[in-house]
């Protein structure tokens, strides 16, 4: 087939097929994901589940944050966790140890979770009993930003070991999030980290985002985070 016009002629010099047409699409590349995400959102709405999508770089402390949070809240709320990692079920095992129902997704080649994966993961939970679903995304500040999972809130965990300029370097993920948890503040005395500077960068790339400074290890600031979660659940149910 001729590469220029697509006709069956194989000789180099022939009259090219002039029948070129332009098809206008204006179609979002992630249309399919967005549609599936809306379906997930409908499920969460119908079942009265608050879904929180946790995103961060690898090693920012998402799993530790979850362990501490689950141990605190599991007595008063029915919680489920979906874990996303490229490989292994190490995180799922850590969550399992808290006694909370967890499902591990291994994305293999993919660097993010998508709405389709979440839809299938939901089948392992007793949805009518759940109040709260945490989705721990793959550790990555770029790709998860583009994929709506149908969650109510996207929360970025930013640890102070990463440096205060992460929001400026990776604005996309901060732009679409509703809460930023600045983690590992127990290390403030050890690291040269300018917390005010970091907070101003966060507000710069997303003026309407809320920030909470926490240490998932020592528990500092965690009560404000728990209140945030509980308030969002109450708001969702009313």
């Amino acid at each position: 087939m001729c590469d220029n016009c697509g006709c069956e002629e194989t000789t180099l010099f022939h009259k090219h097929n002039e029948d070129k047409r332009l098809i206008e699409l204006e179609e979002k590349v992630l249309n399919k994901n967005d549609r599936l995400a809306e379906r997930n959102r409908g499920i969460f709405e119908a079942m009265g589940i608050l879904a929180v999508n946790l995103v961060s770089s690898p090693g920012a402390g998402k799993t530790t944050l979850l362990e501490t949070t689950l141990n605190k809240l599991k007595g008063e709320l029915n919680i489920g966790v979906i874990e996303g990692d490229q490989q292994t079920n190490r995180d799922a095992k850590r969550i399992e140890a808290t006694g909370v129902k967890v499902h591990q997704i291994n994305t293999m080649d993919a660097c993010h979770l998508d709405a389709h994966m979440i839809r299938y993961a939901l089948d392992v939970f007793q949805l009518d009993k759940l109040d709260l679903l945490f989705i721990e995304n793959v550790g990555n500040l770029i790709c998860p930003a583009a994929f709506d999972l149908g969650e109510d809130f996207r929360v970025v965990v930013l640890s102070i070991t990463e440096g205060e300029d992460k929001p400026l370097k990776y604005p996309g993920v901060f732009l679409g999030s509703q809460l930023v948890l600045i983690n590992k503040i127990d290390l403030l005395g050890v690291l040269e980290f300018d917390l005010d500077q970091c907070l101003s960068y966060v507000n710069k790339v997303n003026p309407s985002v809320q920030s909470i400074c926490i240490s998932a290890k020592t528990g500092e600031g965690m009560d404000i985070w728990y209140d945030w979660v509980k308030q969002k659940i109450i708001k969702k149910l009313n």
Binding site: K20, L22, I23, E24, L25, E26, V29, G172, L175, V205
Partner: protein
């Protein structure tokens, strides 16, 4: 990329096209998608499809914000996310997050 190939093939077949000559994409500067990365994998991903040998045309969309205070529209990346008139960071995003297949040239 897989999504792009699938969507393009779907619409090409629907329009009885024999071959795709050009794929035109609109990519926002805050979308997280790197044009060179798309170009890099385009040849591999299109092999054996109606898109094989097609040209990839990427139109980048600037990231604009609307200042909520003075209503000025400004380029977010160029102005480092601050309104150039009132120097404030109270804005809403207007453009820059797009990942869109704008159109196809087919025969």
């Amino acid at each position: 990329m897989q999504n792009i190939v699938e969507t393009v093939e779907y619409y090409s077949k629907k329009n009885n096209a024999k071959k795709v000559l050009t794929v035109i994409l609109e990519i926002g500067r805050l979308s997280g998608v790197v044009p060179t990365a798309l170009e890099f994998c385009f040849d591999v991903c299109t092999k054996g499809t109606l898109l094989q040998g097609a040209k990839l045309e990427i139109q980048q969309i600037n990231s604009f914000g609307l200042c909520k205070i003075c209503r000025k529209e400004f380029d977010l990346l160029e102005n480092k996310f601050s309104c150039p008139i009132c120097n404030k960071e109270d804005w809403e995003i207007i453009s820059g997050k797009e990942i869109i297949i704008k159109g196809l040239e087919v025969v």
